[in-house]
């Protein structure tokens, strides 16, 4: 393949010498100057001959231009982004053109893949946001800033951990991979300046896991891009726009355009901000004597005498005089920085040197985590050079590099202290070493280095007047190395050193032709090309346990054997594609686009390799019609759009067609005899991989409690296909003061690759996989932007509002649409035909039984209600017996909502008066249910069930939930919402199973995401400083949250498929002060 790339590059380069021939006709010149309304010259404006859009020049830095006219029309159209077009007649003299600032965004150029299109000519659903709107927000990557900004784009984080990847879902969830156990592959496709950066295929070294569901959240590879380098972001939502990206566009496409040099004076910019992340809301924890009194009080009143008399009460509670138990530590204070700093600096310089343009920028970003020991430090240069060595030929070189250092405390967010399950008591005595370790001040080694890069080299050549050839080779890589040392004092077992290396090189080679043709009022643009893509993952993971030599924190001194572990992994996938798009318009008001892409992937066997992804769309600009003339003052723009198309998606595994074999030789309670620290619970662990010392291979790993969890591969695995229909309208009223976009869509996800179809038992497999599930999303999106005051007013007030409604349901399941249950027995979710993805299955519980007499009695047998065979009594949960058999078991579970939001959106208001501006942006989500996993875990680990109050000497137990203590049943006759906290020793009841209706909570919230108060210094001051522009501002991020759930601290932070909230790392409120200068 490399040879082919070279050959094609040679071909591309060989045409550097090809000059376009001149035309020997009588020359008519159009020449003149272009200025803005203030009279300043506009460099870089486009001057094109009317009817011959390829005959075009740009104005120079003093606004001058000269164009040789070729047609007969003798008219030129002058355009410049952000200004209204103007067409003028050429009458001999030099022209003087003044462009008016555009009130409408219809002149903006939207990138839709291999082509830029004026928003006015769009026939597809594309949402765009300017870089300006999200600049200077103190976050490491731009995707986190998109929450609530754009209709149909849901951005939700699953952890507050800095630099973590949020879940971006465009137009509803289609992910049927429970807990992303098989890689998910659910994110949109990112295209950065025309270069595909496929985040879905990147495996970072650092991953944090949801404490309950185990669902992973990885480091966000998008931190490659400095958010302040972004010019605009275009999100291709419907199939018409995205089908040109074919098989990878099923989850939508996000196109990022970075800033480029403008003509005129060189642009030198500097901006910086600095601020603090404040302490998150603490859990109310009783410590010291208060904790002891509380616990003893509860136990004295709740336990029978036999328990009090036995040795069940922890000595830490009874022996208050022992200095070892006589401490008063608020652990939360230990873990959290009161003021974590965040700061950012950007410098950029851009300009033209003759026909060559350049832009260099450098970003430094530094953020401390609110949790001790966490942090990010990034240095990110970006270099772009565009050369025009020969007329008609453009050479573009671009390089983005991000070098990051990250810290993850004591082995990541799954480190000991952050577990709800056994939140430590305040009694424990810490020695200074431990204390320093817990504070993250003494961790001897925690080194995560990331080098992300994206480089491209491209040429665009005008072959003939209206035919352009573009060839681009691009390469990106995400190299992530995480080495750390986990001391025995922290993990409770022994010193372990880890070294994890990940590298994800990929390259793309794109070649395409663009042909423009116009005759009379018919305009055609034809794009056609090919692309080849290759991506690899290299991963290695090494660890050494039992390092006994002080000072050694890497993998040394441990002899070969079971304590020294290493494994490496390499995988590769390739794709070859052909694509074409024909755009047509008649008189600029009847618009149509047809596109098709064919993709072939190495994932599939030869007969299923190729997928075809077509799309058609049409638009009608009704406001251009004669009959609309009378209402032009009210409706200045009106367009209707319709589109249909099919996009695709890859199953997660690179080698899905192969039957993979496992080396798992485990069995129930099997171990390799090594100690493992699992969220603070130390136990014997390990997965045997041998039988009598011989390594085994079979497709049947013993993954759970009953079956060998083998998944049979399908050799007919193929592309998932996402047909989508969209109807939209764009309206601008009152001279573009009101701008409304409405879209309705139906997006099907067909042939979803599904891993969990029960196989015939006699095959030995538990499951087989294949393209078997269909999911549908239907929705309505509304985006509204208004300028609430007249443009003449000195006081300005702009509002942007968007809201999206989405309905999500399963339309096809295998095995005659049978329900699918996921998760362990205590934590189940389903896929059910006609229902949203991953409904929760829980027991409906109506408080606790006040007395024994309140427990229902079976009229036939005379027996009391039982819970899985155990008779219920006073203080036990009042389960609703769905099948009326007077026994509560798994059949009595009912559906209780799902994690998919029904409504998402945002509202922003900007007020400005002279140089002062205030903007407030809020985002909201509603119509989703979440699991309060933190509370469930906490009660499971620290409550009194199975006599686990015996742990109250080590764990905080009720001291950390003092806020809800009043809700537990305590004495007969209590009508309490929650069952009893303490059961006598040996009771086998489990009221804190997470599958209980009291752990399902409303996940709705409204957040004030950003509030910014800014001031542009008056121009005369700025001029005297020899500057163009100076702005100072203060910003607050995550200022306030209104939420339905009382006990979940941040309802945003849940895992997207399992819906569990167990915040090990809270989200934080940040305040920054900043400065922005332009020379």
């Amino acid at each position: 393949m490399r040879k082919i790339v070279l050959l094609a590059m040679v071909v591309a380069l060989s045409v550097l010498s090809a000059t376009t021939a001149g035309y020997g006709q009588t020359k008519v010149y159009a020449q003149g100057v272009v200025r803005d309304e203030k009279g300043s010259p506009l460099g870089g404006a486009t001057v094109a001959e009317k009817g011959l859009p390829n005959n075009v020049v740009m104005t120079d830095s003093s606004g001058r231009f000269m164009l040789v006219l070729k047609g007969k029309g003798r008219e030129v159209t002058i355009s410049y982004i952000g200004y209204e077009d103007q067409t003028v007649r050429v009458i001999g003299d030099a022209l003087s053109v003044t462009l008016k600032t555009s009130k409408s965004n219809m002149g903006d150029v939207v990138v839709i893949g291999y082509q830029g299109v004026r928003r006015r000519n769009l026939t597809a659903a594309v949402s765009s946001i300017k870089g300006k709107e999200i600049q200077d927000i103190p976050e490491a990557s731009f995707d986190q800033m998109l929450q609530g900004r754009l209709p149909g784009v849901s951005v939700l984080s699953s952890t507050g951990e800095l630099g973590a990847k949020p879940a971006i879902v465009i137009r509803g969830a289609t992910n049927v991979d429970y807990g992303n156990a098989n890689g998910g592959n659910t994110g949109p496709l990112y295209v950065i300046d025309g270069v595909i950066y496929d985040v879905n295929t990147i495996t970072p070294a650092y991953t944090s896991y949801n404490a309950i569901s185990g669902a992973p959240t990885t480091t966000n590879p998008l931190s490659l891009i400095n958010p302040n380098d972004i010019e605009s972001i275009d999100i291709l939502k419907d199939a018409s726009a995205s089908a040109i990206y074919g098989a990878r566009a099923g989850n939508g496409v996000i196109i990022v355009k970075t800033k480029r040099a403008l003509r005129g004076k060189p642009q030198v910019g500097f901006s910086a901000y600095a601020g603090v992340t404040t302490r998150p809301q603490f859990r109310k924890v009783l410590t010291g004597n208060a904790e002891r009194a509380l616990k003893l009080g509860i136990l004295n009143s709740q336990l029978p005498y036999s328990n009090m008399q036995g040795n069940f009460i922890p000595i830490a509670l009874t022996d208050s005089l022992n200095p070892a138990f006589n401490n008063d530590v608020d652990w939360q204070g230990l873990m959290i920085r009161n003021f974590a700093l965040v700061n950012n600096q950007d410098v950029s310089i851009a300009g033209f040197a003759g026909s060559t343009s350049y832009r260099l920028s450098l970003n430094h970003y530094n953020e401390q985590g609110v949790l001790n020991g966490f942090g990010i430090d990034r240095l990110a240069p970006h270099l772009n050079v565009i050369l025009n060595p020969i007329k008609g030929l453009r050479v573009n070189g671009d390089l983005i590099i991000s070098s990051e250092r990250r810290n993850h405390g004591t082995g990541g967010s799954s480190g000991t202290l952050f577990s709800s399950w056994n939140f430590p008591t305040s009694f424990v005595q810490l020695n200074p070493t431990q204390s320093a370790l817990y504070k993250g001040q003494a961790n001897p080694f925690d080194d995560n280095r990331i080098l992300a890069m994206n480089g491209s080299f491209g040429v665009t050549d005008t072959i003939v007047n209206n035919l352009l050839f573009n060839s681009t080779y691009s390469y990106n890589n995400y190299i992530d190395r995480w080495s750390y040392f986990s001391p025995a004092a922290l993990n409770g077992i022994q010193n372990v050193a880890y070294d994890i290396n990940a590298s994800n090189p990929s390259w793309t080679f794109e070649n395409y032709l663009t042909w423009l043709k116009s005759f009379n009022d018919h305009h055609f643009v034809l794009v056609g090309g090919t692309s080849a893509y290759d991506t690899k993952n290299y991963f290695s993971n090494a660890s050494a346990a039992g390092i006994a030599v002080t000072g050694i924190t890497t993998l040394q001194t441990v002899p070969p054997g079971t304590n020294l572990n290493v494994n490496t992994n390499r995988q590769e996938k390739t794709t070859v594609s052909y694509y074409g798009r024909l755009s047509y318009d008649y008189k600029g008001k009847y618009l149509a686009t047809v596109s098709v892409r064919r993709d072939a992937s190495s994932i599939y066997s030869a007969s299923y390799r190729w997928g075809t992804f077509p799309a058609v769309s049409a638009g009608w600009i009704a406001s251009d019609e004669k009959f609309m003339e009378p209402v032009k003052n009210v409706v200045n723009f009106l367009r209707f759009r319709a589109s249909y198309g099919i996009t695709g998606n890859d199953p997660g595994s690179f080698y899905a067609k192969y039957q993979s074999l496992s080396t798992d030789a485990s069995f129930l309670n099997a171990t390799t005899g090594s100690l493992i620290n699992n969220y603070g619970n130390i136990g014997i662990g390990g997965t045997p991989s041998t039988y009598n010392g011989t390594a085994v291979i079979s497709p049947f790993p013993y993954g759970n409690w009953v079956y060998n969890s083998g998944v049979g591969a399908s050799n007919s695995v193929r592309w998932e296909k996402y047909p989508q229909v969209d109807f939209g309208t764009d309206v601008e009223l009152f001279n573009s003061r009101v701008n409304l976009v409405v879209d309705v869509y139906q997006k099907d996800a067909k042939d979803k690759y599904f891993y969990n179809i029960p196989a015939q038992v006699t095959t030995g497999y538990q499951y087989f996989s294949g393209n078997f599930v269909d999911v549908r999303n239907q929705g309505l999106e509304i985006g509204l932007n208004t300028r609430n005051l007249a443009s003449s007013s000195k006081f300005q007030w702009n509002t942007s509002f968007n809201i999206s409604f989405n309905r999500n349901y399963v339309t096809k399941l295998p095995n005659n649409n049978r329900d699918f249950l996921f998760g362990p027995p205590w934590f189940q979710q389903t896929l059910t035909l006609g229902q949203p993805l991953f409904n929760y299955k829980v027991w409906q519980i109506k408080g606790a039984y006040p007395t024994d007499a309140d427990v229902p009695t079976d009229g036939i047998t005379g027996k009391k209600m039982t819970f899985q065979g155990t008779t219920l009594g006073a203080g036990d949960p009042a389960y609703v017996d769905m099948n009326g058999d007077y026994n509560i078991n798994l059949d009595d579970k009912v559906i209780a909502g799902n994690p998919n939001p029904k409504v998402t959106g945002g509202i922003g208001n900007t007020f400005s008066y002279k140089g002062i501006s205030l903007s407030i942006f809020c985002s909201f989500v509603t119509g989703r249910k979440i699991f309060n996993g933190a509370l469930s875990d906490f009660l499971n680990g620290s409550s009194g069930i199975y006599g686990s109050y015996t742990n109250w000497g080590a764990n905080a137990g009720p001291a950390a939930i003092s806020g809800i203590l009043g809700q537990f049943w305590t004495t007969p006759g209590d009508h309490a919402p929650l069952p009893r906290l303490v059961y006598p020793n040996g009771t086998s009841k489990d009221p804190w199973d997470i599958a209980s209706s009291y752990f399902v909570e409303d996940g709705s919230f409204l957040k004030v995401k950003q509030m910014t108060l800014g001031y542009n210094l008056p121009e005369k001051w700025v001029r005297s400083l020899h500057m163009r522009f100076v702005n100072v501002y203060g910003m607050a991020e995550n200022l306030m949250t209104w939420k339905k759930s009382k006990t979940v601290p941040d309802p945003e932070l849940v895992d997207p498929t399992t819906g569990t909230s167990n915040v090990v790392y809270p989200s934080a409120l940040k305040f920054t002060l900043g400065l922005r200068l332009e020379l």
Binding site: I4, I463, A665, P688, N692, N708, V761
Partner: protein
């Protein structure tokens, strides 16, 4: 110029396309797959080893080996701790309703034959793939030697398949019979249960192949007795024939084991407990799990040590184990005061009144990091051993159409002699002798997965009721065959419930 350019462009495109095919073929090289593995002898070895590790998974899924063989016999008093579900297992409440989602309920697990079919499937896969491997893939000085290596692995796969089917036949009676490898799992057929005699006939065919392909025990091999050899094949044959009531063949198969060229000898009385650690001189076939890297958590209540041991043998804070020995049976079996077995592998517990016993055969416990909070168990699952085969031969001699009571008694006495019992038994014949042999098997093979099947065989011959949980009528109706879990019917409409349990499983 333009034409030249276009031609170059087109040429580039064409060159680009013609290379697609190769470019799009990407093979995994960090994960084993069926398509890329199965090339060398070690691949075959790893795949066959997996058959045994899958038997191990099946036998440990719900203390399965001992639940089927011992818990439901008369060896234990009522289950009094750990998972109370085992009380239903013990009382033969096998039809009790368990939601299919309750996947960790032992009552559900014991009704599912899923794990045994995984062994069958892996055996079928080994037979399919190893058969298609060229002889040259195997090691050896010449083709004959290489062929013999290949046959060896095929022989093991035949054995593990036959072993699984025989085990399933004893537990469920009729079971679906599948001997094919499925290339496409999604198209696998729904299979009805085949009559037990057909299943066992197939086992005999497989064992005949295994017998030809496998050698006698190599005493120097680290894999001896934990992987099949000719001795294991004959021991399995002996049990299979005994289960079928074909005692002539059973006798012959026992002879083959007893007279094996690389002989088995009874372990010396002094080393008696070494049998349970594994790989003893009298062992014929066992499942390996006595290495630290293949061990079990000792104190978990879903392990044989967790339910049969108490403090101080394991650190579980229990004065008596969850499964305490049936005191009546214990006192009946071990009435001879010379018998060393109650002293070596049982322990009397003081519970402040009632007498209780624990069986300490599986008490080879090791602390991890010298910490008693973390304990692992290092005992193999002993499936066949010489004492078992000697007593089985005695049973065959006593039960076959032309009985030889004298030799039968001498075999029993050989086992008793090793247990240091002084007085040899004499003069027993007929059913008395059969009862005596079964008692001796009970004494010798207590908690070794045999007792329940021994009692069923005995009742078949003598007609006398052996278990309080099965009345003679229920015995005739086949209550001792387990029901299959109703969840298995969901995907397979051809599957039917076990005869006795029709209409009794909810």
């Amino acid at each position: 110029m333009h034409i030249k350019y276009k031609i170059l462009g087109l040429a580039a495109l064409i060159a680009f396309c013609s290379s697609c095919k190769k470019f799009l073929d990407q093979q995994p090289n960090s994960v084993a797959t069926d398509q890329t593995t199965w090339k060398s002898e070690s691949d075959a070895n790893a795949s066959v080893a997996s058959c045994y590790s899958l038997i191990r998974s099946a036998f440990n899924a719900a203390i399965t080996y001992y639940s089927y063989g011992d818990l439901i016999s008369d060896e234990f008093g009522p289950v009094s701790g750990g998972d109370q579900s085992y009380l239903d297992v013990q009382d033969m409440n096998w039809g009790i309703s368990i939601p299919a989602a309750n996947t960790n309920d032992p009552r559900l697990k014991l009704r599912l034959f899923t794990n045994f079919y995984t062994v069958v499937a892996q055996s079928n896969r080994c037979l399919h793939f190893i058969n298609s491997m060229p002889v040259s893939s195997f090691t050896g000085d010449d083709d004959a030697a290489r062929q013999s290596r290949k046959n060896h692995y095929l022989g093991e796969a035949y054995f593990t398949r036959a072993f699984s089917y025989f085990y399933m036949a004893r537990v469920w009676g009729d079971v679906p019979l599948v001997t094919d490898y499925y290339d496409d799992v999604s198209r696998a057929p729904q299979l009805a249960r085949s009559p037990q005699k057909d299943v066992l006939a197939r086992c005999l065919l497989d064992l005949d192949s295994a017998r030809q392909y496998l050698d006698w025990q190599d005493p120097n091999s680290s894999d001896k007795v934990v992987r099949a050899d000719k001795g294991a094949v004959f021991a399995l044959l002996a049990h299979l024939y005994a289960w079928e009531g074909d005692y002539n063949h059973c006798d012959n198969a026992c002879d083959s084991v007893i007279n094996a060229p690389t002989g088995y000898t009874l372990v010396d009385s002094a080393d008696y407990t070494s049998i349970y650690k594994g790989k003893s001189l009298e062992s014929i076939f066992e499942i390996a799990q006595n290495a630290q890297s293949e061990s079990m958590r000792a104190t978990d209540v879903y392990t044989i040590t967790g339910v049969t041991l108490a403090e101080p043998l394991i650190h579980n804070n229990l004065p008596t184990p969850a499964w305490t020995i049936n005191t009546g049976l214990y006192q009946y079996l071990y009435s001879d005061t010379d018998d060393i077995r109650p002293k070596l592998v049982f322990k009397e517990l003081s519970t402040g009144g009632a007498i209780a016993y624990e069986c300490i055969k599986y008490a080879n416990i090791q602390n991890v990091n010298a910490n008693t909070s973390y304990q692992i168990a290092l005992n193999n699952i002993i499936v066949f051993r010489l004492a078992d085969i000697l007593l089985l031969k005695a049973e065959a001699l006593a039960a076959k159409p032309a009985p030889d009571y004298g030799t039968a008694l001498s075999l029993v006495n050989a086992v008793r002699q090793r247990a240091k019992i002084k007085t040899p038994l004499t003069g027993y014949t007929g059913n008395d002798l059969l009862n005596l042999i079964t008692d001796e098997r009970g004494r010798e093979l207590f908690l070794e997965g045999h007792r329940f099947f021994d009692l069923i065989r005995l009742e078949r011959i003598t007609g006398d009721q052996q278990l309080s949980t099965i009345s003679p009528g229920e015995f005739a109706a086949g209550k001792y065959y387990w029901p299959i879990d109703p969840s298995l019917f969901l995907l397979n409409s051809k599957l039917t419930q076990t005869g006795f349990w029709k209409g009794k499983v909810h």
